[in-house]
């Protein structure tokens, strides 16, 4: 079961990366980056669930397989950072499209390369 989950997670990461690579629309690129980051976050969650899936809150009377709290704790930071970068980039895209009403990466690149 774990292997299948992991395969799906990697498929998500790869789809996101291919989207960043192939999409010509700037907003789509930013969204594809979010898909990729979703995949990475899911990988941390899958990794945490390897030893068990119960919430890692220890109760003496409860004898179950707990999930590993560490990967979950650290990925929280990455989620927040990912969200803020996403927001920042979308604002940038908005500003950019107001100067020059297109979202096509090649157009913008042609116009702004020396």
């Amino acid at each position: 079961m774990g292997v299948i989950l992991e395969a799906w997670v990697f498929a998500t990461i790869l789809c996101g990366f291919l989207g960043i690579l192939w999409k010509q629309n700037l907003i789509m690129k930013v969204l594809a980056m979010d898909v990729m980051s979703t995949g990475v976050i899911a990988y941390y969650v899958v990794s945490a669930a390897r030893g068990g899936v119960f919430t890692p809150i220890f109760l003496p009377q409860r004898q179950v397989a707990y999930a590993d709290p560490v990967p979950q704790a650290v990925i929280l930071t990455a989620i927040v950072i990912g969200l803020s970068i996403q927001a920042l980039m979308l604002v940038g895209v908005m500003k950019l499209s107001r100067y020059h009403p297109t979202l096509d990466v090649r157009d913008i690149e042609m116009k702004n390369s020396p």
Partner: protein, 477 residues
């Protein structure tokens, strides 16, 4: 020292946000943060044993600061101080200074951290602060360049995160040492992130355009310290994990040659400096044990050169060669160029001698070639005609030059053992060779190297290629 370390780590952020509460004290507060870092870095340098701070339990999250780190912290402090001096009389808003301090603090955090997750957080904050500094003028071009930078660095850091969890799975901690037990794909993914962030080897093609488009003080920060936030962890890994040392050294030689090769055929001053940054990162990585001193010498020189480039009448080398530059700018330009070429009595000389001494036999040829190339790149700045036209430069600019070039002279004393006849003759020979190369070949060439590799698509494509190559290297070593 432990309490001092914690206060110092937090100080840049507190002072940075404090600027917003006291906008009238913007510049003094920013300067205070810079001098605090400088004092801390110097104190750390004379401290015999490293400072080690560990989070409770065994997840490897913590801080580690030793004399190698102190070189990087001093570089960061001096460059920040110089940039604040330059901007003293400018009309930049408190927002700009807050971003400078956040950048300063997060770069310090990246230097101090010894685990993959703290480093991730520090590097991402560096990326956001750098983006906001680059896009400060808010015209179309800087926004595009900033977006490009953020996209590339964030994608690289996502790969890096996958590598970090692979290290955790094999070692049950995020410590750098865990890299030794991690599978080769973890090494490939983590190094991809760090190499892209540091602008190293073929993964660093985003660097020239980004550094050349930003305003002069921002370029000074980006080239002087920001790229080093990703270089110190690479050095640290090479020192901690013997298995990746040849990889780091090899990448160093490749980067040094690549950067020099591109810089020689460039005619835009700021792009020459940016390519030269790439090649100098290679010098730092080629001899990881002594990279700290080289980083100090390079950071000061490159910040000075970028600040000077901002004051030059033109950005085209050929135009400058025709119309000449004011003598008041020519003297600091010559001093900085002498240091980076490795001329005695400036820090660049000691750093270069030290690096050359710590190379492995298979690296010597390539690095000597890169040193000759570096001398050739900067040879052009000695042959610019000086004009007598007086220029009125702000006093802050001269204060910045005094900090940076004075720092170079003082830092020369760090490795005074370098002054032997044998050591002095070799760099002079390299400089002579470089000038000969410039005068005989480079000056006559009218080559324009293609720039298609700097397009966004190719930058992203290079990342997937880089991942495959890094995996193959990590797997075969």
């Amino acid at each position: 020292m432990n309490v001092l370390t914690l206060v110092w780590i937090a100080s840049a952020f507190f002072l940075g946000f404090g600027i917003y509460f006291m906008p009238s004290l913007t510049r003094p507060l920013a300067l205070l943060a810079g001098f605090f870092s400088l004092g801390y870095g110097l104190a750390l340098g004379v401290q015999p044993e490293p400072v080690v701070l560990r989070l409770l339990d065994s997840f490897g999250v913590g801080l580690f600061l030793d004399s190698l780190t102190s070189f990087f912290i001093i570089t960061n402090a001096l460059v920040t101080i110089a940039v604040i001096f330059t901007l003293w009389e400018s009309d930049k808003t408190p927002f700009f200074f807050t971003q400078i301090l956040i950048l300063h603090g997060s770069v310090n955090g990246a230097f101090a951290s010894t685990d993959w997750i703290s480093l991730y957080v520090a590097l991402e904050v560096v990326g956001i602060a750098a983006f906001l500094l680059i896009t400060y003028p808010r015209n179309e071009r800087v926004i595009w360049v900033g977006l490009r930078y953020l996209l590339i660095s964030n994608v690289a850091m996502l790969f890096y995160l996958v590598g970090a969890v692979l290290v955790y799975e094999s070692h049950h901690s995020f410590d750098f040492v865990g890299l030794g037990e991690a599978p080769p794909e973890a090494v490939a993914l983590l190094f991809l992130g760090l190499l892209v962030k540091g602008g190293i080897f073929t993964l660093g093609f985003w660097l020239p355009m980004t550094h050349a488009t930003a305003e002069a003080p921002v370029s000074a920060l980006l080239s002087g310290v920001v790229v080093k936030a990703a270089v110190l962890p690479l050095i640290r890994c090479a020192l901690l994990v013997a298995a990746v040392e040849p990889l780091v050294r090899g990448v160093g030689v490749g980067t040094a040659l690549l950067g020099v090769g591109f810089a020689l055929f460039e005619s835009d001053v700021k792009r020459v400096l940016a390519w030269s940054t790439t090649s100098q990162m290679g010098f730092i990585l080629a001899a990881p044990e002594v990279g700290g001193f080289y980083a100090l010498a390079h950071g000061l020189v490159k910040a000075a050169l970028f600040l000077l480039a901002g004051q030059l009448p033109s950005r085209d080398v050929r135009e400058l060669a025709q119309q000449g530059i004011p003598r008041t700018l020519g003297i600091p330009l010559a001093l900085a160029s002498f240091s980076i070429s490795g001329f005695p009595l400036l820090a660049g000389f000691g750093a270069k001698v030290l690096t050359m001494k710590n190379l492995l036999p298979w690296q010597v040829g390539g690095m000597t070639g890169a040193a000759v190339g570096t001398a050739a790149i900067y040879a052009s700045s000695f042959f610019l005609p000086w004009t007598r036209t007086p220029t009125s430069l702000p006093r802050g600019f001269w204060a910045a030059m005094a900090v940076l070039l004075g720092g170079l002279l003082v830092a020369n004393g760090v490795y005074y053992e370098a002054f032997t006849w044998g050591n002095i003759v070799k760099p002079l020979g390299i400089i002579a060779g470089g000038w000969g190369l410039y005068w005989g070949v480079v000056r006559r060439l009218q080559v324009r190297l293609p720039r298609f590799l700097e397009q966004l698509e190719h930058l992203l494509g290079m990342m997937s290629v880089g991942l495959v190559v890094l995996f193959w290297l990590a797997w075969s070593w």
